[in-house]
Assembly symmetry: C2
Homo-oligomer: 252 residues x 2
């Protein structure tokens, strides 16, 4: 049985709480938040606490708080030489105060407040400063059914950057398609299966192999007609830049 204390009650903290609770091999010793009001609805299921001095002993302290708060909170923890991990994609593991053993338990996924998360679809990126803690964090990932990967700080920061491309930027392309189609009174539902299929395709095939379309074919006629259809200058600039990028990738 792995005992954990969760610190933080945002999206990541709440989803981890639910995953830990469901697991037979994890016990949640306490759930800490500066402001207890967010945790009141859980008070019958777990010990909730807003006073750091009341933190009990546990195998792992999981900091699920904003990037900027990690360093500060780790400094004021009233104990030493225990395992403290943060859950951020970008914070350096050395930003955790060195009075404790340090690690990272970074779930690479997009978390919405209200939707249920299936942790078998949440890869956990693990980093440790003390080797002996690697297995414990791997066990914690396995306990919630997550695939896990040992990665370095540099790799984690690169993953965080890559995630911006495949998540935030891809979503902005969906948004632009929404704007373009809305302007012509087109039901956005028509595009949804294509969005899903495009994402599914690269689950088994490299994005390189999966590519199709006018830019890859260097179909100048279609590209020209598309640019003529675009009224928004920024949409046009994005079309041109990504077309150029695809051409370069595919040597056209």
């Amino acid at each position: 049985m792995i005992s954990v204390v969760i610190l933080g009650a945002g999206n990541v903290g709440t989803h981890l709480y639910k995953a830990f609770r469901k697991s037979d091999s994890v016990t949640i010793t306490q759930w800490y938040n500066r402001d207890l009001s967010n945790l009141q609805i859980y008070k019958n299921d777990v010990e909730i606490v807003d006073d750091l001095s009341k933190l009990k002993e546990a195998d792992i302290y999981v900091l699920a708080i904003s990037d900027d708060a990690v360093s500060e909170l780790s400094k004021v923890l009233p104990f030493e030489n225990r395992l403290v991990v943060h859950t951020s994609g970008s914070v350096n593991v050395h930003d955790l105060d060195k009075k404790n053993q340090r690690g990272v338990f970074y779930p690479l996924q997009t978390f919405s407040k209200h939707s249920e998360i299936d942790f078998s679809n949440v890869p956990i990126c693990i980093e440790v400063l003390e080797k002996q803690n690697l297995q414990l964090l791997k066990d914690l990932a396995v306990a919630i059914g997550s695939p896990n990967y040992k990665i370095s700080t540099e790799q984690r920061q690169t993953l965080h950057l890559s995630a911006v491309y495949v998540n935030n930027f891809a979503n902005q392309l969906y948004r632009i398609a929404h704007e373009i189609s809305d302007a012509k009174s087109i039901n956005f539902d028509i595009l949804k299966p294509l969005i899903l299929e495009t994402a599914k395709k690269v689950q088994d095939m490299s994005p390189y192999m999966a590519q199709t379309g006018p830019a890859k074919r260097n179909d100048k006629k279609t590209i020209k007609r598309h640019l003529k259809l675009l009224e928004n200058e920024q949409h046009k600039a994005i079309y041109e830049l990504l077309t150029k990028s695809i051409k370069q990738t595919h040597g056209r």
Copy 2:
């Protein structure tokens, strides 16, 4: 029972053939291709033909051929006043020769040669010049289990353009993430669940509502760090342009 003749043996033609064959309410009168060698493996299941003068009567002639060939092939069809449709996202319906009744049966999806297609995930965009043919084309879509939408030429061309954003361009972002992570020896598998979840999210939520990340939050520190991590000038330009676009969308 709807009788169809398919003309063309590329991806779209082949997938439509399989979908029509599975349907209880469609009969495939013939399958035409200029070059019969592609069709030989189907010759026991359907009448295959490479001579236009041998085309038999059918309710619908489905041209599943390259954009550039639509006009020409429609001209040399040796019959008049029958229903001829093309399957292209960008070709004008008027490019079909006016000696026949004309329409469009455009499946908006990405087709790979080897993967099976579930047509319940393939919206069919329908356009007709003769009103009385609308119901027949809707029936054909229903017969293969596809959602269908009546759209105009302008809407179809806008959809084709939108599809480039959500398919080709989104896929290129996956490719860039692949390049970035490969350069640091990161397993691309780690990013696959996020790719899928991002696409799933907008099935029930607008892309606007689904957006998260440093650009939306205008988190200058993270954006600056990301730009510093990027070594490729084009990746950097794409990061900057899409960040600007997200900021604009979310009023930052």
